[in-house]
């Protein structure tokens, strides 16, 4: 995407001189996780501004006007979600941060948790104030020990400094946090499963409705947002909704953390304005593929893959543009797949992940995701495939669409269907020859 010569119009590329990295500006800086550092970089000024100069309704209006959509993957407008909370009626209300990042290809939240935990705390204070909740909960995945440690320290520091607790910023707003650790279950990223996990139940998803705003944690009004959504809110309050809305495209506003992994020169997390292209991320920032690439997964393993061609590389990474090409923005976790990786093998890896993470609550997922698909893939990969198998697999995947209790089954079926659409010949080759077209499956550096 080209940059307008007069620097007018929305920012849709990191090449635009007006663009500034915000959420990730402290990540990677030694000691940035300490309160002292954060305070010396305008830390907690946005929370102070919200709590002391704005009403909760005004905060929600600002977030609505910014166009921020949930950064956890589903993309629901954050301000609208906040406005779903029922009127204050004396019951306890909760604001929850979903830090159970576990979608393969996604690793953006981890670095904020580890390197800039106060930014998250500040976002939670603002969110808590907006929905008038006095308790915030951070649900962090069990494997993120360092992130957990840093958050523990940050919360202790914030309490000590009066940034959490009673009467924040000399107002009557009271807010404190509970840090809760998961123990290795992808499904806890699904918000109702997360609530069950927090309550000390098995983490099976709940029926919706009622939505969390009506009956959430302990049956009380609850709002759940992703780590990066909270980080975005800090800057929206600090710089104003129009600053955020001045970046991106029609349906996708603001700045976002994109990730790129697989064989590229400089994999990692890059903050970019929405509407930047895959090409800019993969080639300009990440230095391009180090092996010939044949496919890219646009937003975490559950999003349907694209062939690695100009048409897709020049697609802007926003909700609408990616949807129009038949996939989803998801978490923005791009995975580049090299030509020599057998696509059947790659998809078996993805299917195995979802099979492992299926909670077993509902029949389509338990049978289709956890049993049939991985078994069919193993059959093919061990050279026992036969005519009719591909049709059967497509049928199983098709029957998983929209039939399960929660989105996990779709998350497994969609990438399988996309691999059939773009790389069916590799499946056919495997059945015909009993061995894959590309035999080497991984490249461990010596």
């Amino acid at each position: 995407m080209t940059v307008a010569a007069d620097n007018s119009g929305p920012i849709t590329s990191r090449r635009d001189p007006r663009y500034q990295v915000t959420m990730y500006r402290h990540v990677g800086v030694e000691g940035a996780w300490k309160l002292e550092y954060y305070l010396s970089h305008q830390g907690y000024q946005a929370a102070r501004k919200a709590v002391t100069t704005m009403t909760p309704g005004e905060v929600i209006d600002q977030v609505k006007a910014s166009g921020l959509r949930g950064r956890g993957g589903a993309g629901f407008p954050t301000g609208v979600k906040w406005s779903f909370m029922p009127p204050v009626d004396g019951r306890q209300r909760f604001i929850v941060c979903n830090a159970d990042e576990s979608e393969p290809g996604s690793f953006k939240d981890r670095y904020i948790l580890e390197d800039d935990p106060h930014q998250l705390l500040e976002g939670l204070i603002i969110g808590g104030y907006a929905i008038q909740a006095s308790v915030g909960i951070i649900y962090i995945r069990g494997e993120y020990y360092l992130g957990h440690e840093r958050l523990e320290q940050a919360i202790a520091e914030a309490r000590e400094a009066g940034l959490l607790g009673e009467g924040l910023f000399d107002t009557d707003f009271t807010f404190d946090l509970i840090l809760h650790r998961g123990a290795g279950a992808y499904i806890c990223g699904e918000e109702t499963a997360l609530m069950n996990s927090f309550e000390g139940l098995r983490a099976n998803p709940r029926l919706k409705p009622p939505f969390p705003a009506q009956a959430g944690i302990y049956g009380l009004p609850t709002t759940i947002n992703n780590v990066t959504s909270f980080a975005s809110v800090v800057h929206i309050i600090e710089r104003g909704a129009s600053w955020f809305a001045g970046m991106g495209t029609e349906d996708s506003k603001g700045t976002k953390l994109y990730q790129v992994s697989g064989p590229v020169a400089r994999p990692g997390v890059y903050e970019m304005p929405m509407g930047s292209t895959f090409r800019e991320l993969i080639f300009e920032l990440a230095g391009g593929p180090t092996m010939e690439a044949k496919a890219l997964i646009p937003g975490g393993s559950s999003t349907p893959m694209f062939p690695f061609t100009d048409e897709y590389l020049d697609t802007p990474m926003d909700y609408g543009s990616i949807a129009r090409k038949g996939s989803m923005l998801g978490t923005g976790g791009v995975i580049v797949i090299p030509k020599e990786k057998c696509i059947v093998n790659a998809m078996y890896n993805v299917v195995r992940f979802y099979a492992h993470e299926s909670c077993g609550k509902c029949t389509p997922c338990r049978e289709g995701v956890a049993t049939w698909l991985p078994q069919m893939y193993r059959k093919l990969l061990t050279g026992r495939g036969e005519p009719g198998d591909l049709e059967l697999m497509e049928e199983v995947a098709g029957n998983l669409r929209g039939t399960a209790f929660c989105p996990l089954a779709d998350a497994c079926a969609m990438p399988v269907q996309a691999s059939f659409k773009h790389f069916r010949h590799e499946y056919e080759y495997l059945i015909e020859h009993g061995e894959p077209l590309y035999k080497k499956s991984d490249w461990w550096q010596s």
Partner: protein, 194 residues
């Protein structure tokens, strides 16, 4: 069941701290934090500990066991002093985690889910650890070792065999590439190929 000293008997303050985090009506939320304390100290959660936690929270042991069995981090049998968790999901797999797993199986003489005879090492294949940009990742107990090459893996195993857990090297990429210089530890096994 043999009589054992209750785990939390001499940890009243810790117990109060954990229970105090949650509202009275949400006491059950303490199941996972209590399981974590036991798992980290004893490298597993035995039946006796499940019963103890259930008693503390006024639940039936089955309810605690039901929660425990849902998650892959809580173990019924003790894991090794060094619990090696190999991420096997796509980005790590592309970067060689399957080969790394096979290498570890060969070196340690144990397979996925096993602990060696003297309880020194255990091996577990796990799903995505959120280190896709610095793949492949090997988690040893609490620590991530990122971008593990074959030679780094060998050096790491040598150190662990001698009972030394090196300071984890932290690899970064993308916008946080600056961190590389700042956080690479001196003297750690990761230094050589920073």
């Amino acid at each position: 069941m043999e009589a054992v000293t209750p785990f939390f008997a001499d940890k009243q303050r810790l117990l109060e701290d954990i229970l105090g985090r949650y509202p009275e009506y949400g006491r059950r939320s303490a199941i996972m934090p209590l399981l974590w304390e036991v798992q980290r100290a004893e490298r597993c959660v035995s039946e006796a500990r499940v019963v103890e936690i259930a008693t503390i929270l006024d639940l039936h042991p089955t309810e605690v066991k039901g929660v425990m069995s849902f998650y892959s981090t809580f173990h019924e049998q003790p894991v090794g002093r060094y619990h090696l968790q190999v991420c096997s999901t796509l980005s790590c797999s592309l970067a060689g985690s399957d080969e790394m797993h096979d290498y570890l199986v060969e070196e340690l003489g144990i397979v996925d889910g096993e602990t060696d005879r003297d309880g020194h090492f255990s091996l577990q294949r796990v799903e995505c650890l959120g280190s896709c940009g610095t793949a492949p990742v090997l988690q040893v107990n609490d620590s991530y070792f990122e971008r593990v090459t074959r030679s780094r893996c060998r050096e790491l195993l040598e150190a662990l065999r001698e009972g030394k857990l090196p300071t984890p090297w932290r690899e970064r990429g993308g916008d946080n590439v600056r961190a590389k210089k700042a956080t690479l530890v001196s003297g750690g096994v990761g230094e050589k190929k920073g």
